[in-house]
Amino acid sequence: MLHNFLNGLSTALSPISIIYVAAGVLWGIIGGAIPGISGSVAMALLLPLTYGMEPLLALPLLCAVYVGAEYGGSIPAVLIKTPGTGSNAPTAIDGYEMQLQGRGGEALFTSLYSSFVGGVVSVILLVIFAVPLASFGLKFGPSQYMLVGILGLSIVGSVSGKSQLKGLISALFGLILATVGMDPISAAPRFTFGQYKLIEGFNLIPLIVGLFAVSEVFRQIFTGEITRKIAEKAKIKFPAVREIFSITPISILCGMIGTVVGVLPGAGASIASWLCYSQAKNFCKNTETFGSGDIRGVAAPEAGNNAVPAGALVPLLALGVPGSNSTAILLAGFSLQGIAPGPLLFTQHPEVPYTIMACMLVAQFVMLALGTLIIRPAVKITSVDKSFLSAAVIMFAAIGSFSINNDAFGIILAFIFGLVGFFMKRYGFAPAATVLGFVLGELIENNLRRSLALSKGAFAIFIQGTLNQTLLVLIVLSFCLPLAANWLKKRRSA
């Protein structure tokens, strides 16, 4: 294994390979930073160009796009509260607050550094545990997936703001929004009001850009902030070495969580980043600053979502099973090269998986270098006149929403969700909890119903087996620990 990986590393470190990986990472960062494009679309746009390339250049190129896109989405999330991809939504919570406090550079570097750490951790785990992780992933059935979804929901308390009750209602609102459209099992239309455009349900992009970005522009207009002159140019400050050290353990831990989530087919980077945010909030000390510009609130989700690409490679390389849109495109890339991923790949063509893994490692370093170069010009965006910036944000939101189905309905949805998000935030509700509910809704409902169908309606299925019991303990801990911590804090201060 190590011998094969070192061989792969020597290929990955050749100048031509580094150039391809750098091009892929850069393209991924651009694609990830634009709402509506995302990593999978960026990969799909590049896929035809890989036809005729050497397999050991084409496949790492696609993987590098995947790596770059997961980081790229955090740049607009921090700067203009417009997450480039769904998995960067939790980053916007603390990242944007840091930017408002003049710590945009710090937030962007934290996001970059933790993405790098998460990515490196996941590649190391991929190299060592690819085959055992693949078989672990296969142990997850519908009941386990449902419990993972519930575990993700435990974060509601930390994104709720002052009122936990309003946070819970916001999350339920998101879960309800996720039920709109064709029922995934019986194909019955639900809450579509006879509109065929709602048959497929709401797309995540208009919902996220509406609730986060458009609502923020509305808030700036409503409060008159948009016409205020910017007092001084944005200063670029990087985090202190002490802060970098303080977020390293969180990034390593979230990198591990992200890798495991990535291994699970269908779970994806959005769930990984929310899960990491919630676990960081639950297990860190002094968490009252989460949601108001805490550096750990940026580090945790970014490390988690950047660990997903390597994790997602596990079922693809070891079993030939794509677990997401991006890995499905990667599978198409394998097909174009005439290579079939699966158990035989490791014995018949070991150079392919190990070179891909090595290139993923190189991609993390390239991302760190390119990302550091990007931070300085990116932060300057916040020095642009607010009316100019807000108009551009609305246009990015509109084009991103339009590009989903190439019609104006996406823009209408983004506008409606913008108004909803504006009113929710103004009256103390939590749009972030709504996004969380929406992201997890499909996973929870589908797997709840599949589990109950398998057990013929018996809820006992959720408490059977060691894996389920472990997940249940984690859920109870996730919900109870913050409450217990609050209670202890109040008692101490009393």
Binding site: I221, F222, N406, A408, L419
Partner: protein, 147 residues
């Protein structure tokens, strides 16, 4: 203390939504293949939302809400501008609509000189078109030839 403060109005809105979801979910069919049915999960969500909203209604009687500085007219005009943009985008085309939207927005909030606003609107429109339409292949509506 006002009986209907804004928090209670919000609670009522979510209560109505919850009840609607719960009632509407009764009409979703169940099949032999899916004994759980399409309605149980949304019904559970609807009832939970209604129950929590009722709790919010009861608990939020004493909360104060400080409205702060408000620019309602500006927000309404901006919303109208977005609606007009959506209405005309597919008939008039992306370039004139986007140019007009950016120009009107920057002129309305007028923090820079007219020339800057014109330059910015034209430049950004060109950038959006070239990047999204020409480079990424997003099918942004073109100006109709017989327009």
């Amino acid at each position: 203390m006002k009986y209907f403060n804004i928090h209670r109005v919000c609670a009522l809105i979510f209560f109505v939504l919850g009840v609607y979801v719960a009632v509407e979910s009764l009409s979703f069919p169940a099949t032999k293949l899916d004994p759980v049915g399409a309605g149980i999960y949304p019904r559970l969500l609807g009832l939970s939302t209604a129950a929590l909203s009722a709790m919010l209604f009861v608990l939020s009687g004493k909360e104060d809400f400080k409205p702060g500085e408000r620019h309602v007219q500006a927000l309404l005009l901006f919303c109208v501008e977005i609606l007009l943009y959506v209405c005309f985008l597919e008939t008039v085309g992306f370039i004139p609509c986007t140019f007009a939207f950016l120009l009107l927005t920057t002129l309305y909030f007028r923090t820079q000189a007219l020339l800057w606003c014109l330059f910015y609107s034209a430049g950004m429109t060109a950038f959006f078109w070239l990047f999204f339409r020409s480079f990424l292949g997003v099918l942004l509506p073109e100006v109709p030839i017989d327009f």
